[in-house]
């Protein structure tokens, strides 16, 4: 009860305090000569937001880069040692390969499935469309931990001879095979792919909703025109619809890509990176929390930052183009 009251107090204090701050700063600005007032006011409005971003994103990001050149307790400089140690270890190489696999598979599958469902559902009656979309969209509200729990009961394995209570092994043994501890099979990275299935399951709804909105936004006359010109459904889809929704396809792809880069919960909860399923975000957590190694954890994050630089660049360019078109 005390906690709830504290939380409410935090809200009241946070919101009230911020409002009071704005009000006072605004008053002060109004006391300045007209010319200065005009110059100062915008900064009064954006300063708290900029301060939050500076304190919680910019400053720590810079500090992370610095710490990546220091030792585990950040007490001495070690140059590039964190990087060379990580990149030289077999373990970390596996982590990187797995992460690349996730990047290669998940965003593409999520976009393709989302597009397929969006296109097909668009042709159903509105009731069927809503029902289809809701069932695929719902996992979006479920946490990574919740999703992992749900899929635990799919992949669960029991020793041979016992009743299988995991769905996948139940089907598998019904087909006459021996039960398999799925998450421990790293042949061809099978376990990593099974973990990817969980993230795909959670993300397709997002992709479907965005792409569906884009498809509905395609002007009907362009499709009608193509139809009159004798194009078949497939040609209409690939030559008329897809080019017009391409911007959204890229948006979805980037979003899922970023989600994959920071994906932590599913792998952490299911295998904690064991059985060769480690990925970069889980490794980061274990270096920082389990091993207390600030240097290596920071070096991993710096690699992550380098990986998103092209995405940031694209993002900014795209934004500029959109603004110019406004």
């Amino acid at each position: 009860m005390v906690r709830v009251i504290n939380a409410l107090l935090a809200i009241v204090g946070g919101v009230g305090g911020a409002l009071l701050l704005y009000w006072i700063l605004n008053r002060l600005a109004e006391m300045l000569p007209q010319k200065w007032e005009e110059r100062v006011k915008p900064w009064v409005f954006i300063l708290p937001a900029i301060a939050a971003i500076g304190l919680f994103l910019i400053y720590p990001a810079v500090r992370t880069i610095v710490l990546s050149f220091a030792n585990a307790t950040s007490t001495a400089w070690v140059g590039l040692e964190n990087y060379t140690d990580l990149l030289g270890s077999r373990d970390f190489q596996i982590t990187l390969v797995n992460t690349l696999l996730w990047i290669a598979v998940v965003p593409a599958v999520v976009v393709a499935l989302g597009l397929a469902v969006a296109v097909l559902a668009d042709r159903l009656g509105s009731g069927g469309e809503r029902l289809t979309k809701s069932s695929i969209f719902l996992p979006m509200a479920i946490s990574g931990v919740g999703a992992a729990t749900i899929w635990r009961f799919i992949y669960e394995a029991r020793p041979e001879g016992e009743t299988q209570i995991g769905l996948q092994n139940a089907v598998w043994t019904a087909l006459g095979f021996d039960p398999v501890a799925w998450l421990q099979v790293d042949t061809l990275r099978l376990n990593s792919f099974l973990l990817m299935v969980i993230l795909i399951w959670a993300q397709v709804g997002f992709s479907m909703v965005l792409l569906s909105a884009a498809i509905k936004g395609v002007p009907i006359d362009t499709i009608e025109a193509a139809r009159i010109d004798g194009a078949n459904e497939r040609q209409i889809f690939f030559r008329v619809t897809v080019p017009q929704i391409w911007g959204t396809v890229i948006t979805v792809f980037i979003t899922v890509l970023i989600t994959v880069l920071k994906a932590f919960d599913v792998v952490f909860v299911m295998t904690n990176g064991n059985f060769n399923t480690d990925i970069i975000a889980v490794r980061f957590f274990n270096e920082l929390f389990r091993n207390g190694d600030n240097g290596r954890a920071s070096a991993i994050v710096v690699m992550l930052m380098i990986a998103v630089v092209p995405v940031v660049a694209y993002q900014v360019r795209h934004f500029r183009a959109e603004e110019a078109a406004r």
């Binding site: 006011k41 900064w43 937001a49 479920i142 946490s143 919740g146 959109e322």
Partner: protein, 311 residues
């Protein structure tokens, strides 16, 4: 989105996404879409929906079965013996609730509510300035915010953990919600600014002519007009913070102040024993975000289609 976190990108609004249909596509007589799905298409959709729903149905059914039933037969066996009432129970929920979910459930609110509500106002002020005021470096600053949308928040965690330790904030709810306020800020400003720039400029101009100050214009005009955008950010942020595991685990950890995701993650780790607690615990942890999501889906989708993405 997921979580996983799920996950919305900073990717600027693709023009196609905006609902800009001048005429309803499906007017009488036209109906190029509705109802023309072929049977193979219907079957494919049915199979996909089935595959998507089965895992969730499985855990819901399991959560209402006794430990004995759950450990000795698959949940799908209820299809063949649905009337064998000895296998059903609601004791799992009571046990999970008493075994710690009651505590972490409240903790989750203590973290999520401030993390959702506080940033809204701060971001609204900033978005107003970015939309309606002129100042040096305005566009540069906004581009930085757009870039930050795709930066994973892991970049901040190592130094923040040290900083929090220095100021004795580790283990406090404030440690988590303050971090989420910072991490959510770029998205909040981005969504609100995009929305505000679609508001009719004439309204603001006439308020100015009437002698209203920026403060007054913001408070009386812009905030009430921006409610849909405020709501869509609030839903995103609520789902992210409630569903987050990483930051809660780092800054609060397991223990007295653990949140629901941490409790459930702990239960998954225990092999087999206590599994009936796990199913019920997981469902308790999902009830709030799923309810919020279903109730406010409209705003959520609107936020998505406004091109929101967060790193």
């Amino acid at each position: 989105m997921t979580t996983t976190g799920t996950t919305p990108p900073p990717t600027p609004v693709p023009a196609e996404v905006k609902p800009r249909r001048a005429m309803p596509r499906r007017g009488a007589g036209v109906a190029p879409g509705a109802g023309r799905a072929s049977w193979p298409a219907r079957i494919v959709l049915l199979v996909i929906c089935f595959l998507w729903l089965v895992p969730t149905i499985g855990i819901i059914v399991t959560s209402f079965r006794t430990e004995e039933a759950a450990l000795t037969s698959g949940w799908w066996t209820v299809i063949t013996s649905p009337l064998d009432f000895t296998q059903y129970t609601i004791a799992n929920y009571r046990e999970a609730w008493d075994a710690g979910m009651n505590n972490s459930f409240i903790n989750s609110f203590a973290v999520t509510l401030p993390a959702t509500i506080i940033p809204i106002m701060i971001a609204a002020f900033a978005a107003y300035a970015f939309t309606f005021m002129e100042f040096p470096f305005r566009d540069t600053l906004f581009v930085v915010i757009v870039g930050l949308l795709v930066v994973p928040n892991q970049v901040a965690l190592v130094p923040l953990l040290r900083l929090y330790t220095d100021v004795n904030l580790t283990g406090q709810f404030a440690a988590v919600y303050l971090a989420h306020i910072g991490f959510g800020m770029p998205l909040a400003i981005y969504i609100l600014r995009n929305y505000m720039s679609t508001l009719p400029k004439a309204v603001i101009e006439s308020a100015k002519i009437d002698g209203a100050s920026h403060f007054k214009t913001f408070w009386r005009l812009i905030v009430p007009m921006s409610v849909p955008a405020l709501a869509s950010f609030a839903i995103f942020q609520f789902l992210w913070v409630w569903n987050d595991l990483l930051i809660a685990l780092l800054f609060l950890g397991p223990g007295e102040r653990e949140v629901v995701t941490v409790t459930v993650a702990g239960l998954v780790g225990q092999q087999q024993q206590g599994w009936q607690l796990l199913t019920a615990g997981a469902i308790i942890s999902m009830v709030v975000p799923v309810a919020v999501f279903i109730a406010l889906q409209r705003y959520f989708v609107r936020g998505l289609t406004a091109g929101s993405v967060k790193g």
